[in-house]
Each structure stands twice: as C-alpha cells, then as structure tokens.
C-alpha cells in the first residue's frame, strides 16, 4: 500500500500523520517536542511504525513546522514546507468551502483568508506572542492545574471578569490582581480566554474579513473555553476539525502526495531505522564578519549533513551539495 507521511515538528509538540493513496488518515502520533526535536522525530517514527499494518510502503515524506529543515535532514524528506501553507492545505481538504482559517499553536497565531478554495491572504502574529498556547500553559501551571482542567473550569463561568490581554505579562498581573480581589477562579479563567480571543482578533485579525465557515485549528483548539469565546465574539459557529492538532502534518502529507502524483520521483525516505541513528547537533559562531552569526550544524558519524543559520551563504549547506571552499579554513 502506498502511503504518505507528514511530520510537523513545532515549538511545543511534534505530530506525525500517515495518509493512504486516497488521502485517508491511517494513523497519527502526537507527542511533546520538549526542546529536543531530533529525539521527538525519532520517537515519533518508532511510535508510528508500531501502529502500521504490515504491507505499508512510504511513497513520500514531507516535514513542516519550525524544525522542518532539521527534521527533513533526519528523515530524508521529499518536501519541506512551512506550517502556514500545510495548515491551509489540510483545512481546505476537509472543508472545501471554508472561508476563514484560525490557527493558534504553541508560539504563534495565524489567520488565513480563503475565497473560492484559494488562500488569498494570511496574517501571523509579528512582534508579540500574547494569546498563544504557551501562555495558557504557563497560566495553568501557575494555578497548579492541567490545561484540560483550565478549559473545563473556564467553561463553568457565569460572570466572566475582564482581563487586560494585550501583553501576557500584564495579563498575568491583572489576573493575580483579580484573584487577590476575590473574584472566582472560573470567571477569571474565562475572562482570560475572552481576552486572548480579543487580542487575536485585534492583532492578527485586524482589517481582515472573517467570513464563515470558520475553522479553528492548532493545539489551542483543544481548549473548549477558547472555542466558546470565539463563537461568542464572532457571533457565528466556529468549526474545530476532528484532527485539528495534527492538521499541519496532514497538510504536509497531502502536499507530498500531490507533488509525487505528477512525477515519478522515488521517495528519499531514509527508513524507520533512522529512529535508532545517533545524530549530533551543534553550533558555532562564525567570525568572518562582524555579524557573528550563530551557525547550527547537524552531523552523523563525523560527517556534516546540513548547516544553516548564517546571514550569508558562506556556511549554508543543504544535503547533496558540495562543501563550500571555505570549509577547510573553519
């Protein structure tokens, strides 16, 4: 059976999704990245391998998310795509008539405007990460509850408290202040959810026409209180897809399927054995000019596989290309 693997390595979580020839989701894995993207990808590969039926053949692999290049080198990706595109592709696949895609992940929030099945515009948080998943995580931790409990408690709120949501630090001060004043925890929590939604609409959504059907995906879509706040604020239904947390990985798999369908390219996939290989990631400061770029490299058995992070092309190296002449002088 021909299958397509999408791997989405995000700031907080790593997702793998496997699709069959008719783009049906066969299996998926969702795990924490915990700051170790290489380990997370290898762990993900092991887990997905265990779930596989015997006759599976991987015909294409795509990586996405903030560690897409790193993950691409490890697995031998046929396609490396940014997470904005993959999310839009997945949403359009499940909801062809979608007009607005809201996506909130661990550290960023995006908005994609779709008309007639074509993404025509998008926006992404630029200078501030207020209102993303990490902040909610942090607040749950501070109140000593899980993120699920935070969501469930917030949903019971009857009289939400207004929280200043423009900046996460000030939102936190405001929450602490309201707690000390004696407001109920659930009302503060739901107030926080509303603040995050207002912040999203005022920042990322500024000046864009949010028409329904509206899809809400990404890790934060797990939070039912946020979903409710979106529904109330927009005064319309907001659809959360069933596999909203792995949409990036599904989108990547869809795209590699699409790419390979029109050509006879044989997959570069290095196989599931990659989950056992020891990779070494390191970095150094280039001293060739005053920019002092931090160049990161990934190697295996003393061989450099890839290198990136410089402002110029001096150290840039993608798999399969010649080493730069300056290599020796390092």
């Amino acid at each position: 059976m021909r299958t397509y693997l999408g791997i989405d390595v995000g700031s907080v979580t790593t997702k793998l999704a496997l699709l069959d020839e008719s783009d049906e989701l066969i299996s998926y894995v969702y795990l924490l990245t915990q700051g170790r993207p290489i380990d997370a990808v290898q762990q993900g590969l092991r887990e997905i391998k265990e779930q596989l039926p015997p006759d599976v053949d991987i015909s294409g692999v795509a990586t996405t998310g903030s560690a897409r290049y790193l993950a691409g080198v490890i697995v031998g990706a046929d396609l490396v795509k940014n997470e904005i595109t993959t999310h839009a592709v997945a949403a359009l696949h499940y909801y062809p008539d979608v007009q607005t895609i809201i996506e909130i992940g661990g550290q960023d929030s995006k908005l994609t405007v779709v008309r007639d099945g074509i993404a025509i515009d998008f926006a992404m948080n630029t200078v501030c990460a207020a209102g993303t998943g990490s902040f909610l995580d942090h607040q749950a931790l501070r109140l000593d509850m899980s993120i699920q409990e935070l969501s469930q408690q917030a949903l019971t709120s009857q009289a939400p408290v207004r929280i200043a949501g423009r900046c996460t630090v000030f939102a936190e001060s405001d929450m602490v202040h309201k707690q000390q004043m004696g407001y109920r925890v659930e009302d503060i929590l739901y107030g926080l959810c509303q603040a995050l939604v207002r912040n999203y609409l005022g920042n990322v959504g500024l000046g864009k026409e949010l028409e329904s059907p509206i899809i809400f995906q990404g890790g934060v879509a797990f939070n039912e209180a946020i979903v409710r706040a979106f529904r109330e604020e927009l005064d319309t239904d907001v659809i959360v897809p069933i596999h909203h947390e792995v949409m990036g990985a599904i989108g990547a798999a869809l795209m590699v399927h699409e790419e390979t369908a029109t050509s006879d390219i044989i997959s570069q996939f290095k196989g599931f054995e990659q989950s056992e290989v020891k990779y070494r990631a390191s970095s150094f400061e280039c001293k060739a000019c005053p920019n002092r770029c931090e160049v990161a490299e990934i190697s295996h058995d003393g061989q450099t596989l890839a290198r990136w992070g410089g402002r110029c092309d001096m150290w840039e190296r993608v798999p399969g290309t010649q080493l730069h002449p300056s290599e020796e002088s390092k």
């Binding site: 903030s66 904005i84 099945g117 025509i120 992404m124 500024l206 699409e258 369908a261 402002r311």
Partner: protein, 365 residues
C-alpha cells in the same frame, strides 16, 4: 573636518566618488552588520525606528574611525526622521564624541541646499568642481541602480543559485573603483553583458512580487532581512518603484519644475487616502492600487513603530484593487527565521493561487 555618511544600500558609492573628486577628507563606516545595529540600538530610545538605530550605529562606527561629522537627511514635513539629525547629534555628544551631524535638507531647497552643504564640507571648492563631482556621482549612482535592476531579473531564473549575487557584488566593487566616465561606461556594459549571459532556466515563469514601504528599509537590505535575495532564492522576481537614482533625479531636478513622479501614485491612492501622511505611507497605498494587476503579490516593508506605514497597512485591505499583501515589520527584535517562514508561506499562497487559476493543481478535496 573628517566627514562620514550613514549607509543605505549602495548610497556610499556616489557619495564616496563625490568626496574623492572634491578632495574631502572622508570615512566610509564598515558595512551594516549586527554590530552596527547593536551599537545603534544600545544608545537609541527604544521606541524609535530601525532607520534611526542603524544610522546612529553607522555614526558611532565612523566616529571610532576618526570621523567628526556626518551627512544625514533631515528637515520638516517628512516624519520623525526630520528631527533625527538633532537627536543623534545630542546622543553622540552625550557619548563623548565631538561630532557634528550635518543635515541634508529633504524638504525644500533640495538641490541648492545640497550644493551649499558641499561647498561647506569641501572647504569652499569652486562651483564648477562641485557640479562636476555631483554629476559624476549621479552617473555612478544610476549605473549601480541599473546593474541592481538587472540582478533582480536574473536572480529568480539563474540555473546556478548565487551567480547573479556574485556578479552584483563584483560590479559594485568595480564601479566603486572607477575614476572616470569611460571606465564607468565600460564597467557597466561589461557587467550588464555578464548578467545577460548567466545561464537561465528558460521555462521559468517567475512570480512577480512588488516591494513597497518605507524608503530606508526598502533600500537597505540589512534592515529588511535581505528580503530581495531571499525572494530570489524562492524563485520570485522582485520589482520596486524606489531607487535612489530615481528619487534624486526627481526631487533634485524635476520637482522644482512641477514634475512629480509620484503624482500617478498619489492619484491612485486618493480614493482611499486623500493626503500625505508623512513618510511614505501615501505612496505605499498608491502602489498597491496602481500595481494590483501587474504584480502577483506585494510586500510592504515598514519599520516597527513607523506611524505613516501603520496607517498605510490598515488602509490597504480595504482597497477595491485586490492583491495579496504581506506587511513585514523591520526591527532589531525580530528574528529572521520567522520572517522567512512568512515569506515562504506568502510565495506558496501566490504560487498555488496561480496554479489553481490555471487548473494545474490537483484538487485535493
């Protein structure tokens, strides 16, 4: 007096030529680097824009090299930039540098103001020498701009990535080293030919993306994440309306006669924005309206905290002429990785839109 200049793209080339011809003692600060930006940011008020911080960094770096004066644009009616010369001079004094920031007027008396300024920094050189130096500088400027325009065309279609950039770097160096019109002319012809002969992908039909926004960030690649090169890597042809030579030609020589290259842009913007709002905000809106049919997408570059561009950003979505716009804020606190992700996604969006319109895209639904 030892004069220096802030960097803005390849502006140093004509200015250096002028200094040399007039026998002015000058210093060209090191090219913009992370050090320039760090120095500038350290001594700047946080809320000021990246052009202020970068140019202040240039001034500190040139002071370290022994300069005690710098030429910097300023004047009324533009935006906060009008005051920058005075604020920067104060900051440099506070840092202990005996340093003068000489203002090049960009509001009125542009040409004559520049002449007076040159008369002064050249220790009263005769007028004919000043004019001849100015003319040679303009010739160099327009040559670099032409080579740059050609580079922008070759970059997305070259077979070996990086060829055009290398040729461009060589050309800039060669132009910088020419002393006479003949060599300049030959250098120009030589590099235009070499760029023409770069092996290209004949099948490629690159997407066309326009670049608009605030003058400095559009022209200074370091401040805007080398965006043109990055787009070139993604196979996109870049077009922009702003070049220093064009600006100089109009504002120094033609505007006084009532000829304004911007009137077309302003007319296009007028249904949505009736007047100048300082900086280049009016032009940004106008360029979107004017080029909506011609470009596949538009990238709007704005310094963080730039009021005119923030106004423009918020007007753009409401124009009748629709074209995808990506606003990128330029600031020392913004990581390049995030900008590249947005650029990639933007180019994907344009590409998929085009493929779908041509029905090439397999419908995944």
């Amino acid at each position: 007096m030892r004069v220096s200049i802030p960097h803005m793209g390849h502006l140093y080339i004509p200015l250096k030529a002028m200094f040399q011809r007039l026998g002015i003692d000058y210093v060209i600060p090191p090219v913009n680097s992370q050090r320039t930006l760090s120095l500038g940011s350290r001594y700047s008020p946080e809320g000021l824009c990246i052009p202020f911080k970068m140019t202040l960094g240039n001034m500190i770096e040139s002071a370290e090299m022994g300069a005690n004066a710098v030429l910097m644009p300023g004047g009324y009616g533009i935006c906060r930039l009008g005051y920058y010369t005075r604020v920067q001079e104060q900051i440099l004094h506070n840092l202990g540098y005996d340093f003068e920031v000489i203002q090049i007027g960009v509001s009125d008396r542009k040409f004559f103001g520049a002449m007076d300024m040159l008369k002064r920094v050249s220790n009263n050189a005769p007028w004919h020498r000043i004019l001849s130096a100015f003319r040679f500088a303009l010739a160099k400027l327009s040559t670099v701009d032409q080579i740059e325009q050609m580079t922008q065309k070759v970059r997305p279609v070259e077979l070996v990535q990086g060829t055009a950039n290398q040729l461009y770097a060589k050309a800039v160096h060669a132009i910088d080293n020419t002393d006479d019109y003949d060599t300049l002319k030959r250098t120009k012809a030589d590099y235009l030919r070499q760029l023409n002969e770069v092996v290209k992908n004949k099948q490629a039909r690159p997407l066309v993306v326009g670049i608009t926004g605030e003058f400095y960030v559009v022209l200074e690649p370091f401040s805007s994440f080398d965006i043109e090169r990055e787009l070139g890597k993604l196979g996109v042809e870049v077009r922009r309306a702003t070049y220093i030579s064009g600006w100089t030609k109009f504002s120094y020589f033609l505007n006084p006669f009532g000829i304004n290259e911007k009137s077309r842009i302003h007319k296009a913007a007028r249904p949505y924005l009736k007047r100048d709002i300082g900086g280049d905000g009016w032009e940004s809106v106008g360029e979107k309206v004017l080029h909506a049919k011609e470009y596949d997408g538009l990238i709007h570059l704005a310094p963080f905290t730039c009021m005119p561009e923030i106004i423009a950003e918020n007007i753009m979505p409401s124009t009748k002429e629709q074209i995808p716009v990506l606003t990128i804020l330029c600031d020392e606190q913004i990581a390049k990785a995030g900008v590249l992700t947005r650029l990639e996604a933007f180019v994907d969006l344009l590409e998929r839109k085009r493929r779908k319109q041509n029905n090439v895209l397999r419908v995944t639904a």
